[in-house]
Structures are given as C-alpha cells and as structure tokens.
C-alpha cells in the first residue's frame, strides 16, 4: 500500500470507531489545514457526510481569511457548525505567561462547550510530530472531569483496540491524525485537492506554517506560493512547525502544563 493510502485507511478506521462507540461526539474545526484534512477523512469514512457537529472554539482573534473560509465551507461541505465563545482574558489565571494565558482561553472555551452539550468524545487534529508532549499521546485519550490529561498514567493502547470504556464524567479525545507528519498532510492535501485558507501561501516573502490566534502566531520567511513549493520547502527544513507558536517556548514545561490542563 502507498503511504498516503495507509495513513488514510488508519484514520478512517479511527473515525468509524469513534462514531460507533462514543455518543455524543463532536470534532474541533479550526479551519486550519489539519482539521480540514479531518473533515475530508470523515467524508471518506461516512460516504460524503460528516455525521457529527464541527465545533469552532472561537477566540475572536482569528484572521479574517479564516472566518471567510468558515462561512463558505461550512455550507459547501454541509457541516453542522457549532461555535463556542471563549472567556475574556481577564478571567484567566494571571500567573500564566502571556501567550500561555491567551491559549488557555481556548481551553476554557472548550470546557464550557463540552459541559453544555455533554460531549463524550472530541475529535482533535493533533499530530505526534508537532511537539514532544503530543508525541506521547494515545489515539483515544481519556480526560478527567476538568479536562485534565493524566500524562503519567495513560491507558495501554495496542492492536487498534482503543479506550472506549470510561466512567461517567470523563470524556475521550480522539486523534485521527496522530500518526501523520506535516509533510504527509501536505502531500494528502495536494493529492485530494482539499481547500485550505490562503494564509498558508507566501505573500511578500512571508507565510503561515501553523495558524493560531493572530496575536500569538507569527509567519515564517518563505516564498512558497503553491502546495508544491510548500512540500519542497518542508522537505528541506528542520525547523519545527510550532516554532511560530509563542506559548510553546515561554518555559521548559510550558506546553506540558497547557496540555495537562486540557489544551489540545
């Protein structure tokens, strides 16, 4: 089997397991490249449908291009879009470093949404190659009542038998792209012709490699104006994808603490 087919088959299997075993289920849709790939994979898994709500936890600080994309593709893809707000920055623990504090708004917004809709499963587009803490994740990853991730005591996961039994009050984060790399994502977007936000393409010598909030995400120097260019650029770089995400770098364990608290 070709590599992309293998990755796709595994992700489809994961999505189908989640849909069969966990109810109610929702997926996080940030309009970024990874979550667009998940929407696409869901349509493959469910033959043209996305049979669960697509949740956007809106910090209100995304780029205009992203809001435009949301409006257009929610309709074109027939998504059941659910938008959730985030609390104002003043409501977040002031002892956190500034970027982490900003990111924590999203964690709290997500918690509120989970509580409101009683979601038992949340599909998120994280990948192991993004960050060393994410590399330790499970495909089906249980979260405590408060959204807490107990990274020191994760359940065993092997032979594609996932954690689908859990006590009331817990929920499961499902990670269908965990085994993909950034380069895989772009190869797949190219092959499948998946629409993406234009911010990924270079303008005036800059482009976004990863899309977060406007105030804590910075573009990289690049002239990659097409998907082919991006693939070529990534194949020769060793800089990590999240280098442009400020909150990862404020402390040695900044990201671990964010994730333990329920961040994606």
């Amino acid at each position: 089997m070709q590599r992309l087919d293998e990755l796709e088959a595994q992700s489809v299997y994961i999505l189908r397991e989640a849909y069969n075993r966990i109810d109610p289920l929702a997926m996080l849709w940030s309009m970024g490249k990874d979550s667009n790939v998940i929407v696409w994979l869901a349509k493959k898994a469910f033959f043209g449908r996305v049979p669960f709500p697509c949740v956007h936890v809106d910090t209100g600080k995304k780029f205009k291009e992203m809001y435009d994309f949301r409006t257009r593709y929610a309709r074109e893809w027939g998504l059941n879009l659910v938008v959730g707000d985030c609390p104002p920055i003043e409501a977040i623990d002031p002892s956190l470093p500034p970027a982490a504090r900003s990111a924590a708004r999203k964690t709290d917004g997500l918690k509120a949404l989970i509580e409101k809709h009683g979601y038992q499963g949340i599909i998120a587009g994280i990948r192991r190659d993004e960050q060393a803490m994410r590399a330790k994740e499970r495909v089906f990853s249980p979260r405590g009542l408060t959204g807490h991730w107990d990274v020191k005591d994760q359940p065993p996961e092997f032979w594609d038998q996932y954690k689908t039994d859990f006590p009331p009050g817990m929920h499961i984060r499902i990670h269908p792209l965990l085994h993909w790399t950034e380069l895989d994502i772009w190869h797949y977007i190219r092959r499948e012709e998946i629409p993406i936000v234009p911010l990924y393409f270079a303008r005036n010598g800059k482009r976004y490699r990863s899309l977060g909030d406007q105030d804590i995400t910075s573009p990289i120097d690049s002239n990659a104006a097409t998907i082919d260019d991006i693939i070529e650029e990534l194949a020769s770089t060793r800089t990590s994808e999240r280098a442009g995400r400020a909150m990862d770098h404020e402390h040695e364990d900044a990201f671990e603490r964010l994730r333990a608290a329920g961040y994606m």
Binding site: R3, M133, A135, V151, D165, R238, E256
Partner: protein, 642 residues
Amino acid sequence: MAQASGGLLKIVVVGHVDHGKSTLIGRLLYDTGSLPPGKMEEIKAMSERRGMALEWSFLLDAMQAERDQNVTIDTTQIWFRTATRDIVIIDAPGHREFLKNMVSGAAAADGALLVVDAREGVREQTRRHGYLLHLLGIRQLAVVINKMDLVGHSRERFAEVENEITRYLGEIGVTPAYVIPISARDGDNVATAASSMPWYQGPTIVAALERFQALTVPVEGPLRLPIQDVYRFDARRIFAGRIESGILRVGDKLLFSPSGRSARVKTIEAWHAPMPVEVRAGQSVGFTLDEQIFVERGEIASHEDRPPMLTTVFRSNLFWLGAEPMEPGKVYKLKLGTREAPVIVQAIERIVDTDTLERRKGERVERNAVAEVVLRARDGKPLALDEYRSIARTGRFVLIDGYDTVAGGVISMEGYPDQRQALTVRSSNLFAVEHRVPRDVREKRNGHRGAVLWLTGLSGAGKSTLAMGLEQVLFQRGFHVYVLDGDNVRAGLNTNLSFSPTDRAENIRRVGEAAALFADAGFICITAFISPYQADRDRARAAAGTSFHEIYVQASLSTCETRDPKGLYKRARAGEIADFTGIDAPYEAPTAPEMVVDTNTLDIAPCLEQLADYVERNLAGAGSPMPPAARVRDKESTAPKR
C-alpha cells in the same frame, strides 16, 4: 521532497531500565542531522539546570517527571530520515512499572532494537521485553550492546553478553539479525563505524535499520473483514470495516460469522473516488449487499470456502497488565476485532516465567506476567476467530476489566475442535411434519417422562458400568430405557469418525441428537461418553431441551489412572495414544450439572441407588405409574433447576 513509497517502517527500541534506549535514539537523531536548529542548545540548558553532563535522553523524555527522575515513563514516537529511507522510531520505557506503555509502543512496530548494557548484561526486563516482542509477533530484531565505553570496548565482554542474550532468544525461537556493540553516549557504531572497536565488522545501527523491512498486510490470506458499523445515511445500506486479510471483489458471496448468514457484494462504495471493483487487506472499505440480511457490528465477513473458526472456548497465550490478578472464574470483556463478548476464565494452565522460561502451575496471573489461559464465552454464544499463527489480526484479542484494558493475548485452538459444522447443521431448511401421537400421550402411556441422562466423566470414572447397571434396574421397574455408548454408536452410526478433536465433537453431536430423538419417543436414554467439552454437552442439552439431565460421574484423574481398566492411561502416558483426555487433552468438568455421583468415595451399588432415586423423583415420582394430574404437578415442583 522524496517521500518513501511503500509502508512506513516503524522500529521500537526496548530493553531494561537505564540501558540507554533514549540516549541511543537521541544520538541517532543528532548523528543523522535530524534535529531542529536550537534543539541541542535547549537540551544542554536543561542538562545544566539539573547539574548534569549533556543528557541525550532529554531529546525524547519530554515530561518534566521523566527528566527529573531520568527515566522514561511513556512511549513516544519520532520521525527521522537516513540517506535512503524515512523511519519512525518508537522509544519504550524499560522500567517494569511502565510495561503497559512499553506494550503500547512495541505492538505497532515492524522491527525492534533490544538494548543491553554491556556492563550490567542481560537483566529481568531485557528478557521480558524479548519475550513480549515474540508474543506481539515482532520477528525482525537486532540486539544492541550499549555502553561499550564502560567496559573498555572489550571484545570478550561483548562476546559474553552476546552469548547470554542469543541463548535466551534462541530458546523462544528468535534469532537476532545483528548484534551490534555501541556506545550511544559517544556515538560509536551509531551512524558511523567506531575506531574504538576495530574488531567489529558488522553494520552500524543506521545501516541495520536500513535493512529492516516494513511489514505488509496479508493480501494472499483468506478474506477477513470484521464489520465495524452499518450506515443508513441514505437509501444505501453500507457495511463498513477494514479488511484484515485477503481481497474483496464485487460479486463475491460473503459468509458472516458467527450468524452464518450470507449474501453477495453488490457494490463497493467510495466518496470522491471511482467505485472500486476490488479492495484489499489494509483498506477501510464500505460495501452493499444484493439481499437485505441482518448483519451487525462484530461479525466477520469471509468467503464461504475459507471461513474463520467458530467456538465457545479457546486457548491463549496472554500478558497481564491488570492491577488485580487474573483468576479462574473471573469474567472479563473480550474485544476481538470489532466483536465484544463476556468471557470467563476457565483455567489457568501455565504461568510462564519470562526469566527462566519455566512453565509452572499457578492459581493466579499477577500484573506483568505471561500465562497460558483457557477462556470460554460467558453467554455460550460462539465467537468467530482464527488461530494467531494462521491469521494474526483475527487471532488476537484484548481483555477489559471494568473500564481498563488488562490483557492482550494470542489464540491457539490446540485440543479444541472447530464447532462450525456442529453449530450450523441445525439451521438447514427442514420443515417438521407433525406427529399424530404427541409426546405427552406417549409419556402418559409409558407412565414416565422421556429423558436424556447424560453421563460425563473421565475414562475409568465408571460411566459405562453405571449406565448398564441403571438400565437394568430401570428396565426391571418398568421404565422404557436404552443406553447409548461408544460401542453401539461407533459400530454403526458413527463408523466414519476418527478420534481427532473435530471428529470427536461430531461423534458427541450425533449422540446428542440421537438421544434427543429417543427422549422424544418417550424413552429414558442413558449416554455414557467422556464428552470432555462443555460446549459439546451444551449442544446436546440444546437438542433435548428440558429433558436433558447432565450427570457428572466424578473421579479424580489419579483414581481413574489407578483403575485403568483398559490399560489406556498407561498407553497414553507412554505416548502411544495422542490427545487422551486428562493426559494431553483437556477435560472440562460440568459447571452446573443436575447431579453428581462420586465414584471416588462410593461403590457402584450406592451410586446406582442414587441414580435410580433421581429418576424416580424427577421422571416418574414415587411409586409409578402415577395418575397424570399428579405427575404434572410433580414435574413443576421437582424438575431440576437449570
């Protein structure tokens, strides 16, 4: 931009705690130029902050707790690229406390590096990990003897450790492709050949990795497609699942197990792609059928000529991760493919000591232990499965206790028959012609009820003697009675059957059906067969319904062996008879028999008395013949509970 075509190669690094697994991977990333800029500086700063020399393992050990205690807690995966290929390296923890995480990492791998500290040599987790790799089905293995700098790069010490580990692996049937001396800290023999060990001529770690093969999914094998879900989003009814083995084509006749239903593939569905006419192992697919049949998640689709086995009991080799020990009689949830079913631990046959490879008896399986265990479907419903050695993906399972995964195991059917034929034979398309003489009328005239008295027990327990004795007693008291035993049945009805597990099961199935007909005819039919499998007896019970009485003729193996009336035990012990019940084939004692007669302690006469008494009470009542009305009441008040 070259992306490796073909499968991803995944390599897990395992071994005893602190033998240098994470260090090796860190060094591998560094020496192959795979680290992002600034990463080394980050690691240096982290090491200095903790007052340590440069700790390569910090590249992998991302958790604060891991760095602070200098131990890997959870498995991680990292991508890197050699000159010729992309590889995913899986780091696994070596501490026994985190074995569940080691298994989570290792189970996904195509190959493994087993790391051994040159100074410490082979330790407990070295062996356990080696054994588990074997159990997990990982066949490609290289041994890495690390920290050669601490033993003066000694060729003799290397040979000693190499000897020790290859001897152990040899005993479990594993031959490492390479044994490589390295110093992870110094990078010797990691990416470049070391001048410190000129006596070593073999490949470096990188060269060895490049020679590993990515595993392919088995396209050649028989079709296995566990049904994951059934979608009815629109007019189509789509069956979804991943092909675990073989090939599926439009027009194929599919058999679903265990239900036994079948239909033809009408279409193979797809979105945003042309509809395929053929799909293969590894693909997640959806298809429709030409007939509306009821199929649900958990069934396995196959072709009719090579179906999976059906059974209510199987043998397994498993590793136990649960905090609470596994014990006989406990019930767990089995997950096999997409099927979930309750199973009961029927027997713990052996505990495997992964240190010495000794197999000993044991009452319970403790955490992190390996054992051979017999599991039985708790609800009596058959399971569709394969033997691990023939189709791995439908021959392995996990067990759930409460909310937690507590075990993983692989299936062997040694000594147990495939029950498919026996289970499906009753579903054929016969329609019954009504008798003009109803059963209760026959029973009224006979003065007693028709019944099957099913005697089961070891060879030499006394079944035949009791059966013949009871037949005589009952006949004299006016009962219509007849004995089926091996002699009269094997001579005619079953003359075409051998003594293989499958034919034995068929033998018992026919006896069960014949006995049920006798009961229907108003007779008391006594059967005298070892009938060692509960599943077979349950089927005989199903054939006769409420007329069935399971009677356990109890005698210990040693008692029977001492009696040995036909000299069979002696011959079995001498290896002249294979698959002899109690010696090298299992006997499953009844769990809820209607009656037990103990020939260990009682002579034949009192046993016969007990049996006759049982018949009087349950089939005729005291002082037969009885008036019909009274007998009906008696039926309700004293019929055995089951």
